[in-house]
Symmetry: C2
């Protein structure tokens, strides 16, 4: 299954180039499991979802750990029919519960396979939106995903077009990864749009 | 039809707070046609699509005109069935041509209603992705949209998961607005994800 993301890092500082280059260095530990292309707008990462989220988290945490206001923007995609398959992406693991019906939605909203990871010490706000494509029943997947997020320790508030999270970066990225993987079948085309932010002065007010 | 966006501005400078506040001031001319809410992650704008895109463009151009490296991230949505309607949003204007079939795709890819606007003098790169939801034939809409973009003067290159544009900010935002409006029916749930960037040092290399 083809999976990948467009990932961008925005450090709100005059020294943004150095901050970005350091973050890229922090992501390098994952490089042997990713195909990487960079241009002036974003870095394309192609690889399995767990590696994508680990690399994004490590880049973001590296940039934000010193206290700078940093935002990461990500568009994560799997199963896009317009993309050729790539062996580096591997197969998606066990499919989620069968969709359909209110009972199934409730069952799928249980926090399956979501163990809160060890904290990395960077308080992170995020907003995420899930787009399951190609199905008239896509709102069932979205409703189940929102129900899952509302039970997660990192849930903060619903917003128009998105769910807002807040917590340690490790838990926030892990919740986003589960949202991306668990609410549409493994053969489906799904996109997750996400913003991650640390050290915003609006937050500190 | 409910329409709105989540819009964020990222000036890569120590003076990012002042830059953002000035940009918000530049967007104020549109305020009587928008409902606006702000938190630490983004500004929610609810209103008709033409006003959403004008407000986003004016905020971005205000922040970037002085030469700072500035990025805007936007998630624009219309027809979301989970949202109550709002009179401020109005009705979507004339529907696009009927979808379906290769001939129809070709016809829809004609640059309808897209007159390149007067330039505002800010060179802008963008990447945009269209997500038409709730339809098995969604790839037809996406293919038609990409065909339209490839004929547009601002088209730069395809990317994984996105199309990349470059040109004057006025033309780039106008192309994004047409992508959002013209490739799925007026009653459809459609999301456009977009990044806009000016003055990137990667671009100048």
């Amino acid at each position: 299954m083809f999976s990948g993301c467009q990932f961008s890092l925005y450090p709100m500082t005059d020294r943004y180039v150095d901050t970005i280059l350091s973050a890229v260095e922090a992501m390098r530990v994952h490089h042997d499991r990713l195909r990487i292309e960079t241009d002036d707008l974003s870095t394309t990462l192609i690889g399995p979802p767990d590696v994508l989220f680990a690399a994004m988290r490590d880049g973001f945490v590296s940039a934000a750990a010193g206290g700078l206001h940093v935002v990461a923007a990500a568009t994560v995609s799997r199963g896009c029919p317009g993309e050729p398959d790539d062996p580096i992406c591997g197969r998606l693991d066990a499919p989620p519960a069968t969709p359909g019906g209110a009972g199934a939605v409730e069952a799928r909203a249980a926090p399956r396979r979501f163990a809160t990871p060890a904290p990395v010490g960077v308080a992170t706000s995020a907003q995420i939106s899930l787009y399951p494509l190609g199905s008239a029943a896509y709102m069932d997947d979205i409703v189940a995903c929102i129900a899952f997020l509302k039970k997660a320790v990192v849930f903060e508030t619903p917003k128009h077009f998105a769910s807002k999270l807040h917590g340690d970066a490790a838990a926030v990225f892990a919740a986003a990864e589960r949202a991306f993987l668990d609410f549409s079948g493994p053969d489906r085309h799904v996109v997750l749009s996400a913003l991650f932010s640390a050290n915003s002065p609006s937050r500190r007010r």
